[in-house]
């Protein structure tokens, strides 16, 4: 009788993320992963059909975890400023707590696997609906100026991701040591909100 071993599954996920972040898709193989986890390659194939299946399943798990965190304590009915701040805090907390998962997610997003993952479950369209409703409310309540979606997104989240990249690297411009604090985040947030207002 073969029983599901959650610890083993989590070990496989953690090692796969580490290997892909370190070596990319090309350097990654089922055999290498099995060795790193001290399990037989056969066990790995019980769970996953092949390398692509594994990358896509783990990618979907990480993506759902990330999007679920972004809407923690969040409601599209919140005022635009309050809701955007909750999103900033959630995104920052996840990135600071799980930098490997975020790096993995970035690699996946820019690969052909990204689209397959986004179409693999309706959960992602649920997240999109929540965000759309939030932005629509902001427009309807005259809290934000109408603009192209991509322009909006780059202004609303771009400053945060720049700060998070500095934080992950541990340095900012010219190699200056950097640690992101809530105070710095709030400074950038206030400028962002101002930029989005009508």
């Amino acid at each position: 009788m073969r029983l599901r071993d959650i610890d083993k599954e989590n070990l496989v996920i953690a090692n796969a993320i580490d290997q892909i972040v370190q070596d990319g898709f090309q350097g990654f193989s089922m055999n290498k992963l099995a060795k790193a986890c001290n399990i037989s390659v056969g066990t790995l194939y019980i769970y996953y059909k092949d390398k692509d299946d594994l990358i896509q399943k783990i990618g979907a798990t990480v993506a759902i975890e990330f999007f679920s965190r972004t809407i923690k304590n969040f409601s599209p009915e919140m005022s635009f400023e309050e809701g955007l701040w909750v999103q900033w805090v959630n995104r920052a907390d996840f990135t600071m707590k799980y930098p490997r998962k975020v790096a993995f997610f970035e690699i996946i997003k820019h690969s052909p696997h990204g689209e397959i993952i986004l179409n693999s479950t309706t959960k992602f369209s649920d997240f999109r609906t929540i965000m759309k409703q939030f932005i629509d409310n902001g427009l309807h309540n005259n809290e934000i100026s109408p603009m192209t979606f991509e322009a909006f997104w780059s202004v609303a989240y771009g400053p945060l991701y720049t700060l998070l990249n500095f934080h992950t690297d541990g340095k900012s411009m010219g190699g200056k040591p950097f640690v992101l604090t809530r105070k710095i985040m709030k400074e950038a947030f206030q400028a962002t909100v101002k930029a989005l207002k009508p």
């Binding site: 599901r4 089922m30 056969g42 019980i46 798990t61």
Partner: protein, 78 residues
């Protein structure tokens, strides 16, 4: 964390020498049309060309015989 819903006891994996397979060949049809096989795949990119079969009733020996009859090596991975 749930990875997939398939009952793990119905999944059988084998090391083979099936480097490639045409979708029109007899072995492909045999696996595809088999009433006791719910799902199957071969990872041609892997060094072990792993065959993965999901079947509620077939035993590993029966799958080994099925593949061997086509002149291919097939060994259960445990």
């Amino acid at each position: 964390m749930k990875i997939m819903d398939t009952d793990l006891n119905t999944v059988h994996v084998f090391k083979t020498d099936i480097r490639k397979m045409d979708t029109g060949c007899a072995m492909y049809h045999k696996l595809n049309d088999h009433k006791d096989i719910q799902q199957w795949s071969i990872d041609h990119d892997d060094i072990d060309c792993v065959l993965r079969v999901v079947s509620e009733t077939l035993q590993p020996e029966a799958i080994i015989t099925l593949i061997s009859d086509f002149g291919h090596k097939c060994q259960e991975l445990v």
